[in-house]
Symmetry: C2
Subunit: 376 residues, 2 copies
Amino acid sequence: MADEGSFKVDPYSVEGAVDYKALADRFGIKLIDDKLKERIRKDAGELHFMIRRNIYFAQRDMDWLLDQYEKGNRFYLYTGIAPSGTMTIGHLMPFMMMQWLQERFGAEVLIQIPDEEKFLAKRDLKLSMEELHKLAYDDALNIAALGFDPKKTRIFLNTEYAGTLYKQAVRVAKHITFSIVKDAFGFGNDTNIGTLFYTSMQAVPAFLKSVEQKRNVPCLIPLGVDQDVHFRVARNAIEKLGYYKPAIIHSKFLPSLKGGAKMSSSDPDNTIYVNDDHAAVAKKVNRAITGQQSTAELQKKLGGDPERCSVCQYYRYIFEPDDKKLDKILDAERKGTMLAGEHKKALAETINRFLDSHRKKKEAIKDRLDEFMVRD
Amino acid sequence: MADEGSFKVDPYSVEGAVDYKALADRFGIKLIDDKLKERIRKDAGELHFMIRRNIYFAQRDMDWLLDQYEKGNRFYLYTGIAPSGTMTIGHLMPFMMMQWLQERFGAEVLIQIPDEEKFLAKRDLKLSMEELHKLAYDDALNIAALGFDPKKTRIFLNTEYAGTLYKQAVRVAKHITFSIVKDAFGFGNDTNIGTLFYTSMQAVPAFLKSVEQKRNVPCLIPLGVDQDVHFRVARNAIEKLGYYKPAIIHSKFLPSLKGGAKMSSSDPDNTIYVNDDHAAVAKKVNRAITGQQSTAELQKKLGGDPERCSVCQYYRYIFEPDDKKLDKILDAERKGTMLAGEHKKALAETINRFLDSHRKKKEAIKDRLDEFMVRD
């Protein structure tokens, strides 16, 4: 059995109870400290609650990026999502952060939807390239619906933008050996050559603007910390090509409703999908682990532990941006004034309101998706 | 020192004296026998001298391909060339064969110019992607000048057609592991991930028509036998995707002027490039190894050995399609009636006439190259 300190984080799986401070050491990334938060607040005019609450907890080269910004050298933003099913609310987090960054810094945005990644990486995936292509378009719509500025946003599927990406990926790939990806990703002799090559496709948007503009343009990538390894590898290669290494801010994982480190799209019963209906959300939230005592009586008497309560965590991570309101919720849990049933019902309603609104935005933007998409 | 039976043939190097019969056994390919030659003659209406003379000496699935053809299921043709410098006359051989096949079988032609291959595979290559791109266009012009029908011919650079190729390459790549390319190509831990992936890009045109037409279309690939390994790997993967495995005819290597197994573009002094001027050709041919005796007197008395004479081989491989005229040349060498100087002078003149004519055709077609090219 894994002890408390034993956990694993890579793009293919997250196991054990993640100690994010230890993870930052392991990955060689810096925690986002108060000084950096203050600087972001100053430059952005406000601070996103996910940074304030250490949900975006770590970074690479953020001070350099803000040096550049303050000198007038504006950065662009890049992140992505590999389709393999319907998006979860956890998947939305990097895009919510990115939308805020776009708004506050006036930044251009590149969004990669690598519709080949899971096809290659998951041996037992039942989805064809055609089905992944469809899912990729639903992902694009979910992302566009978050409020990106179509004039400053480019969304692309790898299979539709390979004419642009492949010739740059080749330049990256020349600097990455089998040894490097073997050590970084744990690949072996039985890994297919598409998966071996893939990381160079993911690297390209991190310097594509520099190629296009024929001058070095800084890039910032908000991502889930499990994706950091791609850029540990890519940053070296990108530097060898003479471009700026991208800066990165890393988020923690939205916890599982059942209390694990990461809500996983491969565990549908404990995961909220953006197309879940009201009943499905209520059912899933109702099964959530809280930090409460075993009976209502004990809870009223002793109170609960918000840190162990997945309902509280959902408010903290996504659904309650207002710190004061969040404190009230956590406090009610702590003091035993709100019982589990009520607590869950309120979260389910909050999530359903969010999803209703999200789906309305999707519907409204559906016919304008092409304003965001680029193809070869 | 390598003994007679020791030789090595792969896409990256050819070493030793190649025993083509042993090579066919090693690669698991069949020799083109008289029965097959007769069948090709019947279906084509004539027999190309390179097949008649066993320069195209081996094959995969040619009987199946002709079965299909005779049933009315027409095949298309595919081959390619990876740019790394000016084309040599040896490089023209598969395209000459392909042009004849197009003419005789009314076949469509796909020509891949993988302008990323050498960039990836040659660690010390001094050429940038931009320079390779230029060379690729000169290759395209050299090929188009051989007389292909623009209505039935598609030439593409990988970096300009990756939008079409990459999404199919991914499907191939899923079936090819590191173990497979390691064993097939001798790759190792220090091989870059672009080179590992590359073979799946080379595989795509062998089934691309089937993808486009949504039905299985037979494909024939004329190639230098060193390229067979790509398709040993690809044929398995292509079959797993549900497409016909491509048929192949394999050529021997145009021998080096100095007597080695293969004229190599990395040995410029013993290699004829399509842009060599008259003086350069005369100088190179003048240094050629012949099968003649050490003095004119001995040669007149004892005669020479056409098999060991690179001048004779140049006539046989490319420059004298007429068997009777070729016999005369070989006979003169054998009987000692033609001395080395005269022999070389005649070949140099023949090559220069060929190259003058080729360059005129290039010039004439220059402005029409786009009729052949496809891009995403």
